[in-house]
Amino acid sequence: MNRPGFTMIELLVSIALATVLTAVCISAFQQGVANIKRTEAKVRMHANAQTVYAYMEHSLSSLMQDTAIVTASTQSTGPGTGDVTLIFMHGKEDETDWIWLLGQTYQNSDLQWEIWKWTAATQQLSVGTSSNNRCFTVTSSFKPDGYNDYLNQTFLNVDQPRRTLSATNPYLDLDSNVYFPTSATPGATVSAASTGDIGDWTDLNTNRLPVLTSVSDFAFQLVDCDATYTTIDDTATTLNEIDGCWLDGRIATATASAAAPNYQFPVMYPDTQTYFPQSAFAHRPRLLRVRFTLTDAASAASQTFSFSFALPGLSGVLPPDQSP
């Protein structure tokens, strides 16, 4: 037979070329798929980061300027094993926005305690807001006028933005049921927390839900008006509490007493150097910096995000390198 066909060399060359082409294409395809997965993960991370930014911006833009603020962090067995917590109050309390009904006045308030918590073990960032009122039942005998006992009676108490918290356990102080606080007297705790209370620490945590997963790192910085800042991360166990203050700048500290309450006006004469630094506002947080890292196990991609939020109040944070 004299049938035309490939020689062995031609056949080998053809097979070799086809193999090289296939190998190159498979390799490029695999790289393309990996890049697509990585890009998809990055797009998802940026979208999630923007969600966190929007959520935090919404809360912090309505931050109650005179709120108490709690920051906490724990480290159980080394970095990456603890948690980071931020608690503050947002919303508004409008003393002029009230209704009159049956001889009583009712104050309107939409103040809410808000908690942000990152837990390293679950890599979850969760957020919770308390109910916008506090409802508690007096569990022990309480006779403010000396005659009527309010035992077992239930009260609705609007949240107070300025709540001085205990430095030892500020969380539990959120449970303190304060009876009709006034500007002259911060108020007296009339009842311990009970299970039926609304708007307390338990309620706040019940409402806490995860907003983001795969958060491998989370930390924030609170920057005061005088540019000093505190870093809160899970490299150490810390607990900081910043007392609330009055809108005019008065502040109550642990040294206050009935005889000499130290929430008096600070010296604010413009011809003295104590014009601003002595004001409580000078030492209120003015800027919140957040940093978190999102990871995607499937594509081994990760991205660290940094955001800063100007808190309501007097402007003027100087960068640390510009501090006088």
């Binding site: 294409c25 890049n35 660290t304 940094s306 003027g316 944070v317 100087l318 390198d321 006088p324």
Partner: protein, 170 residues
Amino acid sequence: MLVQSVTMPGIRSATSRRAFTFLEVLACLLVVGLGLASVVAMVYFGIVKSQKTMAASTAMVTAMTVAVDVRPFLAPDVALTWNIDPRYNFDDTTSLMLTQKAQGFINGYLVERIESTTKADVVAVDTPPGGGNPVVYARSVLVKVSVYTQLNGPIIASFNTRFVRQRSSP
């Protein structure tokens, strides 16, 4: 019985069929290769477009972050890239417009921040009452932030803002 083979018109018999030449096979491989290369190029085009979409998603909030904070809380691997010009003199009592420039990587972008300030409020606070050297108490600030995908890359977001910066201590 003798069976006569029937040849259909237009169809060559197996014995007379002509095979591909080597040149034809190479040409075929070239066409297939070009096709595959086109597919791969389209895949990468899609990736690049996705990356550009990603780049635009958080660019604006990044610009807003840097606008309010010249020194964000950066990850350690990019913190060293953040470069801030030497501080300007907050107490400059002239009407000069002072500028400060900061630049660095944040959230996967290259960000440039230019701050221009001028005195806004001058108070004599040194020696009360009613005397002493004038001290600038507040400065009017204009901040312009530009966000780029990379060094010498196209700008993808820009944000301008104004505010008054008050001094925090004398």
